[in-house]
C-alpha cells in the first residue's frame, strides 16, 4: 500500500465518520424537538395571556431598541413598539450617533424634552449626550437616549444602564412584533420554581413578501424571491427544530439579537454586551450561562416555538454574504472567548455538549466541507479515489439535507402552518430541493470568507442595506 493511498484512506475515513456523526446529530435534533414543540403547543392551549396582560404581577420589561440612521421609518417603528400590549413596560430607543435626522424626527413626533437623567454606568459605554422623555402622557413609556456612535453592543449597554425594569427585551428597531409577543416571551420567566430563567427567545420569521400596514403584519405570504424564500426555510429549520431541541436539553447557546428577553440583573452582573465581537448576541448568552455555571446556580435558557417577530431577510447575495460572514466571525470569536469551557466537565452540559457541538458542527462544518470537497476533487482527478465514491458521498449528504428540510416543512405544517396555501408549501418543498445546489455552497463560501476575514483581523459589522417594508432605507451599524 502506497503512502498516498494511506493518506487518502485516512482522510476519507475521517470525513465519513464526521459526516455520519453530523447526520446522526441532526436526526437526533429533529426527533428530539418534536416533543418540546408538542408540549409547548399543548400547554399553550390552556394559556390565557390576558391574565398576564392585565396583572400588576407581570414581570416589568424594558424594550431596548438601538437605532442607527433609521430616520426613514423611525417614527412608525417606535409607534409600533409603543402599541405593544403589555402593562409594565418602558420602551428605550437608543440613537447610536445617527448621522441622519432620526433624533430630530423623534423629538418632533413624540414631543420629547431633554431631561436631567442620571445614567448609572454599571456597564462602561460611550458617552450619553442626552436622555429625552415625552411631555405628553400618552408617550410616558418612551425614553429616547442620544449617544455617541459605538455600535450595536454599546448602544444596548447604554439601554441596560438606563433601564429600570427587571427584564430587558433587546430587539432590532425595524422588526415587526406580534401583538402578544411580549406576553409570550415573559411567561417562561414566571413558570419555573426550581430554576432561574435567565433568558428567553422566540421564533423569528421572514417578513419579505408579507403585507405590513402601520408597523403591523396584516398578511403572511411566502417570499417570491428565491433568497428570502430559502432563508424562510432555513429559519423554520433552525428555530423549529434546532433551537427547540437545544432548549429541551437546556443547552441553547444563542438567542437571536433581533428579539430576545434577558434577566437584567444577571446581564449587569455579567458586564452586559461585549463590543469586541460581532456576535454579541451569542456571546452574551454564553457568558450568562458560564456565570451561572461557575456560581453553581440552577438556571435555564428557554425558547418558545411561537412566531413572535418578523424581520426582513437580505434579498441579494452581496448583503447575505456579509451577514453570513459576520455570523461566522461572531461564532468563532465567542468560542475563542470561552474556550475554557471546551470539554470541561465543570460546565456540565454546556461544556461537554453545547460548546463542543458548536465547535465541531457549526464552526468546523463549513471548513471541513470546503476542504473535503477540494481534496476529494483532487483525489478523484489524480485517480486516488474514484468518481463514484465522490458523487456517492455527495449525493448522500445532499439527500439528507433535502430530507431534513422536508421534515422541517412537515413540522411547520403540523404546528403553526403559517403558509396556508398548498401552492406555498410546494414552493417551499421545491426550495428544499434546490437549496443544496443553489444556496448551501454560497453559505459555505461565506463562512470560509468569514474565517479568512477573522484571520486578517477584519472586525467590521458590514453594511446591511435593507429594502424596507414600505420605503427603501439603509441601516449601517
Amino acid at each position: 500500500m502506497s503512502w498516498q493511498s494511506i493518506v487518502v484512506d485516512t482522510f476519507t475515513n475521517i470525513i465519513l465518520v464526521y459526516s455520519l456523526v453530523l447526520l446522526s446529530l441532526y436526526i437526533f435534533i429533529g426527533l428530539y424537538s418534536i416533543g418540546e414543540v408538542r408540549k409547548h403547543l399543548l400547554k399553550n392551549s390552556f394559556t390565557d395571556y390576558r391574565a398576564l396582560a392585565s396583572s400588576s404581577l407581570a414581570p416589568s420589561i424594558s424594550i431596548l431598541a438601538p437605532a442607527y440612521n433609521e430616520g426613514a421609518n423611525i417614527i412608525e417603528n417606535v409607534r409600533s413598539l409603543l402599541s405593544i400590549y403589555y402593562n409594565n413596560l418602558e420602551v428605550i430607543i437608543i440613537n447610536d450617533g445617527s448621522k441622519d435626522d432620526s433624533l430630530e424626527k423623534l423629538i418632533k413626533a413624540y414631543s420629547l424634552c431633554k431631561t436631567d437623567h442620571f445614567v448609572n454606568q454599571q456597564i462602561q459605554t460611550k458617552a450619553v449626550r442626552g436622555v429625552y422623555k415625552s411631555s405628553k402622557k400618552i408617550y410616558r413609556k418612551l425614553i429616547v437616549v442620544d449617544k455617541e456612535n459605538g455600535g450595536k453592543a454599546d448602544a444596548l449597554n447604554v439601554g441596560i444602564n438606563i433601564s429600570q425594569k427587571d427584564y430587558i427585551v433587546c430587539i432590532d428597531v425595524d422588526c415587526i412584533l406580534e401583538q402578544d409577543a411580549l406576553l409570550k416571551l415573559a411567561k417562561p420567566f414566571l413558570e419555573s420554581t426550581k430554576h432561574r430563567i435567565i433568558a428567553t427567545g422566540g421564533v423569528i420569521r421572514i417578513a419579505n413578501g408579507c403585507k405590513i400596514e402601520d408597523g403591523r403584519l396584516v398578511q403572511i405570504n411566502l417570499p417570491n424571491e428565491f433568497l428570502p424564500r430559502v432563508q424562510t426555510l432555513e429559519y423554520i429549520r433552525a428555530f423549529l427544530l434546532g433551537r427547540m431541541a437545544w432548549s429541551r436539553l437546556n443547552g441553547l447557546l444563542l438567542i437571536s439579537g433581533a428579539f430576545g428577553a434577558f434577566d437584567r440583573d444577571i446581564v449587569v452582573k455579567c458586564g452586559g454586551y461585549n463590543h469586541n465581537t460581532v456576535g454579541e448576541d451569542m456571546e452574551l448568552v454564553v457568558r450568562m450561562r458560564r456565570y451561572m455555571e461557575e456560581l453553581k446556580l440552577p438556571y435555564k435558557v428557554r425558547f418558545i416555538p411561537d412566531p413572535l417577530c418578523w424581520t426582513e431577510a437580505p434579498a441579494t447575495f452581496k448583503i447575505l454574504g456579509r451577514q453570513r460572514n459576520r455570523w461566522t466571525r461572531g461564532t468563532i470569536e465567542t468560542l475563542q472567548m470561552h474556550k475554557v469551557m471546551f470539554f470541561n466537565p465543570k460546565y456540565g452540559l454546556l461544556g461537554m455538549l453545547s460548546y463542543p457541538y458548536w465547535f465541531f458542527f457549526e464552526f468546523l462544518a463549513p471548513i471541513i466541507e470546503f476542504v473535503g470537497m477540494i481534496c476529494f476533487l483532487l483525489f478523484a482527478l489524480s485517480g486516488l479515489t474514484n468518481w463514484r465514491f465522490f458523487f456517492g458521498l455527495l449525493a448522500m449528504v445532499f439527500s439528507f439535507g433535502i430530507m431534513y428540510s422536508v421534515f422541517a416543512i412537515l413540522m411547520e405544517v403540523l404546528t403553526y402552518n403559517q403558509y396556508k396555501r398548498k401552492k406555498d408549501i410546494l414552493r417551499l418543498v421545491l426550495t428544499a430541493l434546490l437549496e443544496p445546489f443553489l444556496f448551501h455552497p454560497f453559505g459555505v463560501w461565506s463562512a470560509i470568507k468569514g474565517n479568512i476575514d477573522l484571520l486578517r483581523k477584519k472586525n467590521s459589522w458590514g453594511e446591511m442595506t435593507r429594502q424596507g417594508f414600505t420605503t427603501p432605507k439603509s441601516a449601517k451599524n
Partner: protein
C-alpha cells in the same frame, strides 16, 4: 460505495413519503374545514336554540329538542368535540339564564359524563387537564372530589387546572387546596388564581393565617399576596413575622404586603430591617417607603445614602423627595451633594418633581 446509493435512496424515499404526507394532510384538512363548517353550523344552531329558549327568565326542566340528525351526529367524536368546544366558548362569554341553559344542554347531552370519563381513565395529562377545565367552565360542582384530588397531581398542568377550577367553582373556599399541596405554585399559577379570585365579590375568607406558616414556601408567597390584595389588616402581626423568613423572595413579598396593610410602626420596622436585607430587598423597602414613611424617617433614609449602589441612592433620593419635596434642600446641603453621582441624581429627581 453501494451503501451511499442505498442510503441516498432511503433519504430521498423518506423525503418523498413526507411530501406525500404533507399533501395528504393539507387535503384532509381542507376537506375537514368544509365538513367542520357544516358541523359548526349544526352545533351553533343547537347552542343558539339553548341560549334563546328563555321562559320567563327562568330555566325549565323541559329538555331541549334535539333533532334525529343531531342525535346521530352526537355519536361522532369529532362533532362531540366541536360541540363541546363551541359550548365552552359560548359559556365563557355569556351569563345569566342563557348560561344556565348552556349548562343544562351540556348535561342533557351527557357531555359531563364524557369529561368525567376522560378525567378518570385517561392517562394523557393534556386530556385530563382539558376535562377538568371543561367541568370548571360548565360549573359541574358534583365532580368536586375528583377534581380536588388532582390539585396535588404530579403533572404541573393537571394540578394547575384543578386548582384554578376549584377556585372557579368554590371561590375563596376553594383555596383550601393550599393546605395540602406539596408542589410549588409557580408565579404564573398565582397570577391565574388571583385573576380568578378577582372576579368574585371579596369576602372575609379564612386560612391566610395558616398559609403564612406553611412549609410550602410558594404557599406563603401566595398568602402574602392574598393578604395585600384583600387588605387583611388583622393579619399585620403574622405578616411582620415573615420579614425574618430565611427565603429572600418571601421577605420581598412581605415588604410589598406591608405597604398595603401598614400602620404607624411599619416604616420604622422596615427601616430597622433595611441593614439586614439583600440589595434587591433594600431597593424594595426604599420604594415602598415612598408611600408609607413620614418626615421623621427622612434622616434615617439620608444616612443610607452613604452606601454604594447608585440605583439605590437614586431610589433613596426619590423617596425622600416624595415624602417631603422640601427635603430636597436638605439633600443639597450634604457634603457629597455637589459631587458625582449625588449631584446628578438630585438634578434628575428635581426634574421629576416639576
Amino acid at each position: 460505495m453501494i451503501y451511499f446509493e442505498v442510503v441516498t435512496l432511503i433519504f430521498l424515499g423518506i423525503a418523498f413519503l413526507m411530501i406525500c404526507f404533507i399533501m395528504i394532510n393539507l387535503t384532509i384538512r381542507k376537506n375537514r374545514r368544509k365538513k367542520y363548517a357544516k358541523s359548526k353550523l349544526m352545533a351553533d344552531l343547537l347552542i343558539r336554540n339553548a341560549i334563546f329558549s328563555e321562559h320567563d327568565d327562568a330555566v325549565t326542566d323541559e329538555p331541549f329538542p334535539i333533532t334525529g340528525r343531531t342525535q346521530k351526529m352526537l355519536s361522532n367524536p369529532h362533532f362531540k368535540r366541536l360541540l363541546t368546544k363551541e359550548l365552552l366558548a359560548a359559556k365563557n362569554n355569556i351569563s345569566g339564564v342563557s348560561a344556565l341553559n348552556l349548562k343544562k344542554l351540556y348535561i342533557q347531552l351527557n357531555l359531563d359524563k364524557d369529561a368525567e370519563e376522560r378525567l378518570r381513565n385517561c392517562k394523557k395529562w393534556h386530556i385530563k387537564a382539558k376535562a377538568i377545565q371543561e367541568l370548571g367552565v360548565m360549573e359541574q360542582k358534583e365532580y368536586l372530589n375528583k377534581i380536588y384530588r388532582c390539585t396535588n397531581n404530579k403533572n404541573e398542568l393537571v394540578r394547575m387546572e384543578a386548582q384554578t377550577t376549584i377556585v372557579k367553582l368554590y371561590g375563596f373556599e376553594g383555596l383550601r387546596f393550599l393546605d395540602i399541596i406539596s408542589y410549588q405554585l409557580t408565579e404564573w399559577q398565582q397570577i391565574k388564581l388571583l385573576k380568578e379570585l378577582s372576579q368574585l365579590p371579596p369576602e372575609n375568607f379564612s386560612g391566610i393565617e395558616k398559609w403564612l406558616k406553611s412549609k410550602n414556601n410558594s404557599v406563603i408567597v401566595f398568602a402574602l399576596k392574598l393578604a395585600r390584595n384583600y387588605h387583611r389588616f388583622e393579619l399585620y402581626e403574622q405578616v411582620v413575622e415573615c420579614l425574618t423568613h430565611e427565603m429572600e423572595n418571601i421577605r420581598l413579598e412581605t415588604i410589598y404586603t406591608l405597604e398595603k396593610i401598614y400602620n404607624a410602626d411599619t416604616a420604622n420596622i422596615l427601616l430597622e430591617r433595611y441593614e439586614h436585607e439583600t440589595l434587591k430587598n433594600q431597593k424594595t423597602i426604599v420604594n415602598v417607603l415612598q408611600n408609607i414613611a413620614s418626615d421623621e424617617n427622612i434622616p434615617t433614609l439620608i444616612n443610607f445614602l452613604e452606601q454604594g449602589d447608585n440605583d439605590l441612592k437614586r431610589m433613596i433620593v426619590r423617596t425622600v423627595a416624595n415624602i417631603n419635596p422640601a427635603s430636597i434642600f436638605q439633600l443639597k446641603e450634604l457634603p457629597e451633594a455637589n459631587s458625582h453621582p449625588l449631584s446628578q441624581i438630585i438634578k434628575q429627581i428635581e426634574g421629576e418633581l416639576i
